[in-house]
Symmetry: C2
Subunit: 172 residues, 2 copies
């Protein structure tokens, strides 16, 4: 009987760190901070300001959107694309901050909704994200989050060099 | 009997995402990339180059060191300090890149060693990190990692604005 149980339950001695719910909260906490960073940029500089030939922050934010949106569909359904769109479909950068923030909020809602459909055991499954990146699904989601933190940190430098105080990093 | 089991084992339906071992690998993967970023800076600029009044990258790296070192002692022993040092003890910035990299490697080894001493269930325990930040221990470790990614991303802007190609973000 113990053997059967060990196949369906995690032994307490194998330390598990993170629940699905806490994982979502962690991601959305970061997305919430990134939203505030977008909002902190002046309209013009959001779409045009650059250092060292890097992309303006609106483009960095769109990289996050174009990773998170097909990404959460991939996590939930194993099809790494936005339904009804071709593979590799990329959302174009909106023309205004208001539209970018609205798009951001739509992605936030889609992530929350699809997260509830993630099947038990899915995070540990191996998959090839976007048909390119192989690994357990949880590690792909960490990549989305880490990539967002990485580029958002770059946005902090843009803001500081514009003389603008960014939102506190520790507030989610 | 089921009740007893549910107290000591995680039900498979409550999705667990990350094992202790994968969590360590995730952190050390990031630390390995940060080490390469430190190494990519020219000696002089590592300690002096700044944008927008921000700290040079050596100072940002030392923030990571002074978080990770007492941090891993706190995770493993509940005492958020370097043994034999007073509370709030801060390691001074080394004078050369070589010494900084050596210090970085010592912290890497300490993290690996102390991680093995982390008791089962510790990641879920509530604790007050550094006597200041309350939360489950796993979330404190995520803060260390996220803070490192955040500041490392800023180092990427410093390097780009110096005309230097940073190491690829996706290589750990």
């Amino acid at each position: 009987m113990n053997t059967t149980l060990n196949n369906t339950l995690q032994p307490a001695t194998e330390q598990q760190v993170l629940t699905s719910e806490a994982f979502l909260a962690h991601w959305q906490g970061h997305r919430s901070l990134t939203r505030r960073v977008i909002d902190t940029f002046p309209e013009k500089e959001l779409f045009s300001y650059s250092i060292g030939g890097m992309r303006p922050f609106a483009e960095l934010a769109m990289e996050m959107v174009n990773m998170a949106l097909p990404g959460i569909y991939g996590v939930a359904t194993s099809a790494w694309k936005v339904p009804g769109k071709p593979d590799g479909f990329v959302l174009a950068t909106p023309a205004t901050k208001e539209e970018l923030l609205q798009l951001w909020d739509e992605v936030t809602e889609t992530v929350n909704n699809l997260w509830q459909q993630v099947e038990p055991g899915r995070f540990q499954q191996n998959d090839v994200a976007f048909g390119l990146y192989e690994g357990p699904v949880y590690s792909t989601i960490f990549y989305f989050i880490d990539n967002e933190i990485h580029h958002r940190g770059q946005g902090y430098v843009y803001l500081r060099s514009l003389g603008i105080e960014p939102p506190p990093f520790w507030e989610r």
